[in-house]
């Protein structure tokens, strides 16, 4: 058996440190809901882009659209742009999770973990900067 058996509490799954208050269950549930919604939106764009592409050219797009060209091509209802938006929305889901956690921890005055979430977000932004800098290198 794993660990010590204790009474079931309302904060199941949450850190139960005496030194640091538990992460609020509402934050956890909001995070779960948000991840699901963002992923579903991304999938919806992917499916819409696929249908538009199949109708327009009879096949799936073979490349993604650079983020800078996305707004213009989305306005033109371009299948490649819709698919790219879907892919970027899917990639945004974990970023949304980190933003949500950083904000939630800040509201709970849990500065250490708000900083940890902020640091991970900064690393992700750094990955974009590095990718742009090394693009085609």
């Amino acid at each position: 058996m794993f660990g010590a058996a204790q009474e079931q509490s309302d904060t199941a799954g949450e850190p139960v440190s005496r030194q640091r208050p538990a992460i609020a269950p509402e934050l956890r549930l909001r995070l779960a809901r948000g991840l699901r919604i963002v992923t579903l939106i991304g999938m919806a764009f992917l499916i819409l882009g696929t249908v538009v592409s199949l109708v327009q050219v009879g096949d799936l797009p073979r490349a993604t659209v650079p983020p800078s060209d996305l707004p213009e091509r989305l306005l033109a209802f371009d299948a490649q742009a819709i698919v790219s938006l879907g892919l970027l929305t899917i990639l945004f889901a974990p970023v949304y999770g980190l933003i949500s956690l950083a904000y939630g921890c800040l509201r709970q005055r849990d500065r250490l973990y708000a900083a940890a979430a902020g640091l991970v977000l900064t690393i992700l932004v750094l990955s974009v900067v590095i990718a742009l800098a090394t693009r085609g290198a």
């Binding site: 660990g3 058996a5 509490s9 779960a32 974990p94």
Partner: protein, 282 residues
Amino acid sequence: MNLLTELGILLTATGAGVLGSLVGLGGGVFVVPILSVFFGIPLKTAIAASGVSVVVNSAAGASVYLRDGMPNIRLALLMLVPTTVGSIIGGLLAVHSSPNALRIVYSVSLFGMIIVMARRGARPSPPPAERDPLGLTASYYDRAIDGGTEVCYTPRRLAPGMSISAGAGMISGMLGIGGGAVQVPAMNAIMQVPVKAATATSTFMVGPTVVASALIYYLNDLIDPAVAIPAVLGMMLGAQSGARLARRTRGALLVRILMIILFYLASTVFLQALGINVPGAR
């Protein structure tokens, strides 16, 4: 590429999602070598497509685990710092490595995973620690123990756990796989996190880990929607079915069968890297 090939990718990804979900490895370890070896899709394109699929599966899986209160969010946040750094390095290596170098790393990693699968077994966690300055002690409700029990634990040995996590991030970023095959045993064996909490925490961590490298793939035009879309849809469908099937399947036998499949794939990729032609491979 024609619609038939895309349908083949969809079916392959569905099968990979089922298999990956049954053994808790994620579908990436199966889908990347199959797409590369049997569909003739460039390895980097297969890795990028798998990376996007892994993000979808992580987000979908994490939302279920979060509802049940399984992931240790604080532990995940701390471990994500070295893991995402590792993932960026892995993503850059994937973009700038030669396909043959990637094939060798891929096959060696698959052989490593086979060894991990062979030796895998849940280790019990000690009672929670008295001192916990970082507030990492967590609990979850486990229905499988004595008809339902609250399990409370404190993750230990954070420094070695985080170092291994950085390595897992690098493998994940380089190969477009989730990294759970490394993270879960490390969290369980080294940090003494119960295996269910480790699995849930790892699932939550995989999304941010792979996004770091997936953004690099996107901005380097490595994502081919004609491969990524069927891979994403297939892996998602497969993972859902696999999770249901897992409840009714004999685990030990299945793991052995999948180890043989992985061994075959790893050997084929390795031989391709050496320039040796394998029958049926493209």
